[in-house]
């Protein structure tokens, strides 16, 4: 059931005012026992709510998203608000403009409630790499929220926001969605403009929604999608139709990667639950094929090599002179050094250094350029797979949700926890996390621009659970 439609109907029926709704959510966000928020946008939200109430009072029709409270990961520019990327460097940085995706939601009348806590610059898989305090899981507060869009996932799961906008580079929407048992969509690369999203790894960065229903994911995607002159990697896309999503998918073939499931790294319960879901799909009459794919180590290493190279390049502009908190020293060069040393977190510095290593003389041929070649092979393998099947299913993570404190102490284990998400990022494919199938959810992936097909199949899967 669409929460957006339910609230829309309640607003139209005058069961409560938009201001009352927004005040209730603001109180929850401020109380906030999960560390899921960096800045509450109280004035902005109340001002927008008053406009919606005025329209309703005047008997004017309101749009579906008008008056719907939503959250924004703190890596998106919203004019006049702090956009910290959960870092010390940008803690007091104010956005001078608004990201295209967010502007489209504001134009549709959705109400911005908060800038949400996340891993600093998107660097992490647990939302513990943040200067605002670790985000706690919405279901069990001893566990991590998942990263990097952890605050966004928790706010939706805890009903602080109706939907939130996260950012997914290597799994940053899909993994926290799975950890907090909600839906999270990483769209096809380029479907939503990245203009105004703080760049982490430009070739895999995507903008996507986290929500409690498939229908809500589709509603938000339809508003945000489209070509944007300010982001030349954007592509034209077709509307996702609610009636298609609600119908049973016919004549499609399902596949899964055998080597994701048949290896020592996967948790036994995750494996058993995933295979049980496969059996349900077979029982419903669908053909399921086992597929061969790259091993997890190669996927993780290829992704991180390229992502680190891109983040080293993207974050080189953050030196305290152009942006952020500057720490003065004896000359400009030392000022850059001290500013970056003191203001970046350890994980962010680890990734910047790794990126500069692979881009430097003596390393670029053996690692960076080889990583680019491997990526081409991964993309070619996906193309071949989607000639055989329409949907690829996979667990979101190999293991269960970690406890707070376990992840940051072992960066290599953290990188490996992304084994099942990063491949689809390298392929720039649309992938949806569904909150069932395994403890951390199940991913439904399609070929590029097949968002409607994956949402339709996810809806069917939800019904057979």
């Amino acid at each position: 059931m669409s929460l957006i439609k339910k609230i829309h109907n309640q607003l139209v029926a005058k069961e409560f005012t938009c201001t009352e709704l927004v005040k209730e959510k603001l109180a929850l966000l401020k109380e906030n026992k999960y560390n899921s928020v960096n800045t509450v946008l109280e004035d902005l939200a109340l001002e927008a709510a008053a406009k919606v109430d005025a329209k309703i009072a005047n008997g004017e029709e309101i749009g579906l998203l008008e008056g719907i409270p939503f959250g924004i990961k703190d890596v998106y520019m919203v004019q006049g608000t702090y956009t910290s990327a959960s870092s010390d460097l940008l803690k007091k940085y104010k956005s001078a403009y608004t990201a295209t995706a967010i502007q489209k939601l504001l134009d549709a009348g959705a109400i911005p409630m908060a800038k949400e806590n996340c891993d600093s610059f998107g660097h992490g898989s647990s939302s513990e790499n943040t200067v605002f305090g670790s985000v706690k899981n919405a279901i069990n507060q001893e566990l991590v929220a998942g990263g990097s869009s952890g605050g966004s996932a928790v706010n939706v799961a805890a009903d602080y926001t109706v939907f939130s906008i996260g950012g997914d580079t290597g799994g940053s929407i899909r993994q926290p969605a799975g950890y907090n048992k909600i839906y999270g969509l990483k769209p096809t690369y380029g479907r939503v403009s990245r203009y105004g999203l703080m760049a982490y790894a430009s070739s895999t960065d995507t903008v996507g929604p986290l929500a409690k229903s498939i229908e809500d994911v589709a509603i938000v995607m339809n508003v945000m999608s489209g070509k944007d002159a300010k982001d030349q990697t954007t592509i034209a896309s077709e509307e996702i139709k609610a009636e298609v999503i609600a119908s049973k998918p016919e004549g499609i073939k399902i596949g899964y990667f055998k080597n994701f499931i048949e290896n020592d790294a996967i948790d036994s319960k995750v494996k058993a639950d995933f295979l049980a879901t496969i059996e349900k799909i077979k029982s419903a009459g669908y053909e399921v094929q086992e597929l061969d794919f790259f091993n997890a180590d190669t996927l993780v290493s290829t992704y991180y090599t390229l992502a680190m190279a891109e983040t080293a390049s993207n974050l080189s502009r953050l030196d305290g002179t152009n942006y952020g908190n500057r720490i003065e020293d004896k000359n400009l060069k030392e000022t850059y050094m001290v500013t970056r040393s003191e203001n970046f977190t350890e994980e962010t510095k680890r990734r910047i250094v790794g990126g500069n290593q692979v881009l430097s003389q003596g390393f670029s041929d053996a690692i960076y350029l080889k990583g680019q070649e491997l990526r081409k092979e991964i993309e070619a393998a996906f193309e071949a797979d989607f000639n055989k099947v329409d949907i690829i299913l996979s667990p979101v993570t190999p293991g269960p949700v970690p406890k707070i404190g376990e992840v940051l102490s072992n960066p290599h284990a953290m990188y490996l926890s992304d084994a099942y998400t990063v491949g689809f990022s390298l392929g720039q494919l649309p992938t949806l996390t569904c909150p069932f199938g395994t403890e951390t959810g199940i991913q439904v992936t399609g070929a590029k621009n097949k968002e409607q097909t994956i949402l339709q199949f996810a809806n069917f899967l939800n019904q057979v659970q």
């Binding site: 001078a96 000359n331 400009l332 000022t335 430097s360 960066p411």
Partner: protein, 88 residues
């Protein structure tokens, strides 16, 4: 041209060193087998010349200018203050 620059200078981070966790990732790439038959994805990802936007100067709104000024750590007579210009 053969001078290799250390990562702390490349990264502008004091005392920066490579990490064991990241080196493990790179080792996997070094040892990976490459199949030379993969297709040319770079051409597919290129932006069409028809999609390039016009290179024009656009004036920012007053609110944008005001916020940008707020973000500057130091300002003097309308100019950003830089600590010291590097010599040589």
């Amino acid at each position: 041209m053969s001078k290799i620059m250390p990562v702390d200078i490349l990264s502008s981070i004091k005392g920066a060193k490579s990490s064991e966790a990241v080196d493990k990732l790179f080792d996997v790439i070094k040892n990976a087998e490459i199949n030379s038959n993969s297709s040319n994805q770079n051409a597919k990802n290129a932006v069409s010349i028809d999609d390039l936007r016009a290179d024009v100067v656009e004036n920012s709104s007053e609110i944008t200018k005001q916020i940008i000024r707020e973000n500057f750590p130091k300002e003097k007579d309308g100019y950003l203050v830089v600590s010291k210009v590097i010599e040589g």
